[in-house]
Symmetry: C3
Subunit: 477 residues, 3 copies
């Protein structure tokens, strides 16, 4: 059922080239420098509970689409914050998913699921209301086997390195447990301090308290706060981290004086910080995190422009990450100037920028990345981590920035069994893009062969400074 | 001259699939849930005056293009507001149109005209300066025949339902006349209250007076104004309306207190309302109209982001709708939040949003429609009601929202004889889009066959709650 | 090595049509209405110093890409403002360029260079670190020959007319020298007054002083300033200029009263003008330059939306035009309204607008150009003067504005030997676009044949009012 030429253009010249390029990289190990897999899953290595929990309940890409057509989240087993009733029968959840599976036609989720069903679980039918239970049983039977334990899948997927995303205050106990287990899979943390930076978030005071505890010092001043963050970065770095990650509503950057920063921080501790304070502080902390990156070598990733929890009712009832984060128009040219002017020419600094505003690819981001040595463009993100999204990204950025100012692929997922499908799709899309350039005699075939390998594997490793990591498997030795 | 494979990609695999998909829907009746056909035309059912009046003088898509190349609107017979001289000889107008027909190469107007000439009037030549009078005569001969009367064309076009757009204060006398005529064509009104909402429009006071007259109550307060609008909606609903329609410069929504709304309304009645008042009031009325839609079930359409009458000189000399409405960048994520947070999860509410800012397809609208159950995306609108415009729309929205959060096609036209051409073009573009997905093995052929039928017919009916309406013709019985 | 079908789609139907269309225009003379070639080069007509100086050091498209990957500009021989050390050995610069040549894969610079190497210098290998010196020698040998002198290349390139871009205060001595030399090449100046308009630029006072000197009157008042500019325009016009050119951060236009303009001008002379003053003055001067264009017939070009010298460190060390100008989102609908309302309907006025914000093609610029008679859309500019950039431009603008509201091609380059490559690429892209329309039966082949000739040649001549100029060569006679 998985067509070997899937996602390639129907033109036979281009398709043949695309296939030959894809085959060069189809078996390369997976480099996963950014994502949201739970490290606890690989630390405890227990069996996945059931197909619905694994595939539906944990994946907001899936349940948001059913919700958009009127299926209540409770009916899909999404737990309520208030402990109110939600579906607990995984078969009923699965049936509802199957009843609405047609909604995913033409979506990347549809493509990933098809690949995952076939390649991971041996399911070769299209899920529908009639075969729902049969397929449920088939997946359930898989999950009961040892070769479907998380670490076994990790190895089967040929993941060379998997980076998680972890709060600045995380003890990294699961990462420690993985390291001490003797298992050879490489799982690395990523430093994400957002909860310590967003002064107005309801959880900020408790996060600052936690930061104090874990660094063994009370955080009473801005200076102490900075020192605590630096200490946590050092800990993450020693635990193998190669990067940090930062989110914000806007990409505004700008340096405050020490006195201004102290004053805002004091107001935040006192619970009197304003919106303007939070905006200025976030912009200032981008400058600070860039400085720290220059000093400690962690690659600085920024994911700006998502209006989180847009649907207040859903957020109250179910919490964050429920499929209601909506992009905003995002400005980079003016906003990044203070940061890039101070650090963008520094050979030790590397910044990877993502966007949910595709208009900035060709207008702002490719011109910036095609000039500043420190800047790399992250791959097409979130809604654009898709066949058309990635294709638009390549056509919009390559002419100005080339491919060597882009950061390779990352899967950015919490849906662990979809990881191979996502890398496969990306490799196919890039092969198809390059095949178009070869077919139109814009590049030569031998150039495309180097480029597809760079896009599928080396650029991610080089961007995230992971050249030292190699997959421990016989194929790759 | 009308190639059966027109608008399909040249790749033979894709073209064959596109043709087979198109053939599935080519003969389906036309569902027209939004447009600007004059109901009086179908009420009185008189012959069209002449080719120039029918095709040139009434269609701003056409005369704006000639104007852009220096042809004065007077020379095309556009009547002046001041009664000044304008061309009255339809043959001279037609000749000027023919002289500049080459300007429409590569435009949707060019495609529609070619289809309309061939299929409606049997004209199979390309119009030019030499054959202008010959073609004029050929069309003129058609118009004199009974089978070219408006109702005869309506039936020949196989229109299942045609919705007009009508001021809130319209008596719907023509709709009444159609109903009482015994003719079986289904022509329904749509409630468009903009003239009652735009506080600063020069016609607002008289429109409010008219609203008072037609509802039999003086509109002295905001409360009375709301009651009058509700009464009119109820009247429209009883006359068969399924939807309302709203335009605004921006998509801002936000609720005022009753006291604030009363105060602004009072200032407007006193002629002292400010720009800020008008902006806030429009945003508030969006909230009110959403509430009313929840209550009465009318589907709420919004067409924001057009800067009307951009060319002040043309507006003064010729009035509105003269081809000088220019789009504006439009923001939806923040602006729609108040409305969607209050009503977007309500099962009784349905909102159809249009845009003239294509950047919002993938950045804002598809993510919103892919989450909120109440929201559907209207089809590619106005300048984008075109081969490339619709194609970009599908590629930009489907991956995030699927096709089932879109509203199907509507022709949005006042050019009655172009209606079949517009639906045909849309069906071909959608078939060609789906064929690409099939050719690249993103969806299966049987899925595409369901999807093309949904896109061409069912989605429009279902979105606008018209499942009860069926075309009264033998083919469809 | 130069494939005759390069840049054409791989579909054989479309490719065959594209080739046949391209062949119709491949040998047409080059019309160059806007660019940055140094007129001194053609006035003195001396040999080019060496390959590195000709191709690398003078082309910021090239050295910015190497800089983005960490190559210091000093190492590429870019002279420092402070006279500090920079590489002076052209062979070392060339070797560094060759070492990084792979960065240009998939970029227009890569395409132009390949064409230029092959067609101008007979180099048919892909430059790399191994063959760098061999290719250097080959080009160096060419440059020593008389047929590689600037005027000889101009004739070989079959340039019908080449417009330069010249400061309002330029004496046009080189243009005078060319005229008086008896050489028949047509090289015309373009009036660019930006340095006289940007009140806050550090060079403004000296530029105003220069303006006073060259017009023989001290510029003490706004009125005098306007008269001086008008005098310079008249001088440029007599020297053959057909157009003016204007840059600004935004497209804001708006008229000041004479008193307001005088007051701002006085503050500027006193060194006390504010940012707001400069913004208002620039908007006002757009109105003034439009008025002057109505009066003297010079075509008004505007290139807005580039944030110049974004990288302050590079600007300080190396000066302007070093590859760090970054685009900004640009608004046209509201900003152009004052200017278009006053002059946009005037038959004597012609304005050519460019953009670095591709989102405005379909949203603002095509609707504006598809209405206002005075407005033409300039070709895809700068980062978008590329295969994909031009392709997006045509697909985004043609449906709304047609091709006859666009201005044809201009190469906008200072890289003289790349001129034929740029025109060739543009002609191929337009042929490929039209071939798609023919293959999909949107236009007929005979229509496409007229359109490709218009796009490749006549539209540029007609837009810039150059119908009187003809290439003096036997082929074209």
């Amino acid at each position: 059922m998985l067509n070997p030429d899937r996602y390639f253009d129907a033109n036979p010249i281009r398709r043949d080239i695309a296939r030959s390029l894809y085959e060069k990289v189809a078996e390369l190990p997976l480099v996963c420098p950014h994502g949201h897999v739970d490290p606890g899953m690989l630390a405890v290595n227990e069996r996945f509970p059931n197909p619905a929990a694994l595939i539906v309940v944990s994946d907001h890409y899936i349940f948001r689409m059913l919700y958009s057509q009127g299926v209540p989240l409770e009916d899909l087993g999404i737990p309520r914050q208030d402990g109110g009733p939600a579906e607990t029968d995984p078969r009923k959840i699965w049936q509802r998913f199957a009843d609405h599976y047609y909604l995913f036609r033409g979506t990347p989720t549809g493509c990933w699921l098809k690949h995952e069903f076939a390649d991971v679980f041996g399911v070769h039918q299209t899920l529908d209301n009639a075969n729902a239970m049969e397929i449920y049983d088939q997946i359930e039977a898989c999950l009961a086997k040892p070769e479907f334990l998380p670490r076994a899948l990790f190895e089967r997927f040929r993941i060379e390195v998997l980076c998680t995303t972890d709060a600045a205050t995380d003890t990294l106990a699961f990462h420690q447990q993985i390291r001490e287990s003797g298992w050879r899979g490489v799982v690395l943390p990523t430093f994400r301090p957002d909860a310590c930076v967003n002064l107005l978030a309801s959880g900020w005071p408790s996060e600052i308290a936690r930061l104090g505890e874990i660094t063994g010092q009370e955080i009473g001043t801005y200076r102490g706060y900075i020192q605590a963050l630096e200490a946590r970065r050092e800990f993450f770095r020693r635990m193998g981290a190669r990067a940090t990650d930062h989110a914000a509503l806007s990409m505004y950057t700008g340096e405050l004086t020490e006195a201004e920063a102290e004053a805002i921080f004091a107001r935040a501790l006192a619970g009197t910080a304003s919106e303007a304070d939070a905006h200025l502080f976030t912009g200032h902390m981008f400058m600070e995190f860039a400085r720290m990156s220059v000093e400690d070598g962690l690659v600085m990733q920024v994911h700006p422009g998502s209006f989180r929890n847009h649907n207040a009712g859903i957020f109250e009832r179910f919490g964050a990450d429920k499929g209601c984060d909506i992009p905003l128009a995002t400005e980079y040219t003016r906003n990044l100037r203070p940061l890039l002017n101070k650090y963008g020419n520094h050979p030790a600094f590397r910044m990877v920028i993502f966007t949910l505003d595709e208009t900035t690819y060709s207008r702002e981001l490719a011109p910036l990345a095609g000039h500043y040595p420190a800047l790399r463009l992250g791959p097409a993100w979130w809604f654009f981590d898709s066949i058309e999204g990635m294709t638009r990204y390549r056509y919009a950025t390559t002419e100005t920035a080339g491919i060597y100012n882009t950061a390779g692929f990352n899967d950015d997922t919490r849906a662990f069994p979809s990881i191979p499908a996502r890398h496969d799709l990306s490799r196919r899309v890039d092969a198809n893009f390059l095949a178009d350039l070869v077919a139109r005699h814009i590049i030569e075939l031998d150039e495309a062969e180097q480029m597809i390998t760079d896009l599928a594997y080396y650029l991610a490793k080089q961007t995230y400074r992971m050249e030292d990591i190699r997959l421990h498997d016989p194929l790759h030795a």
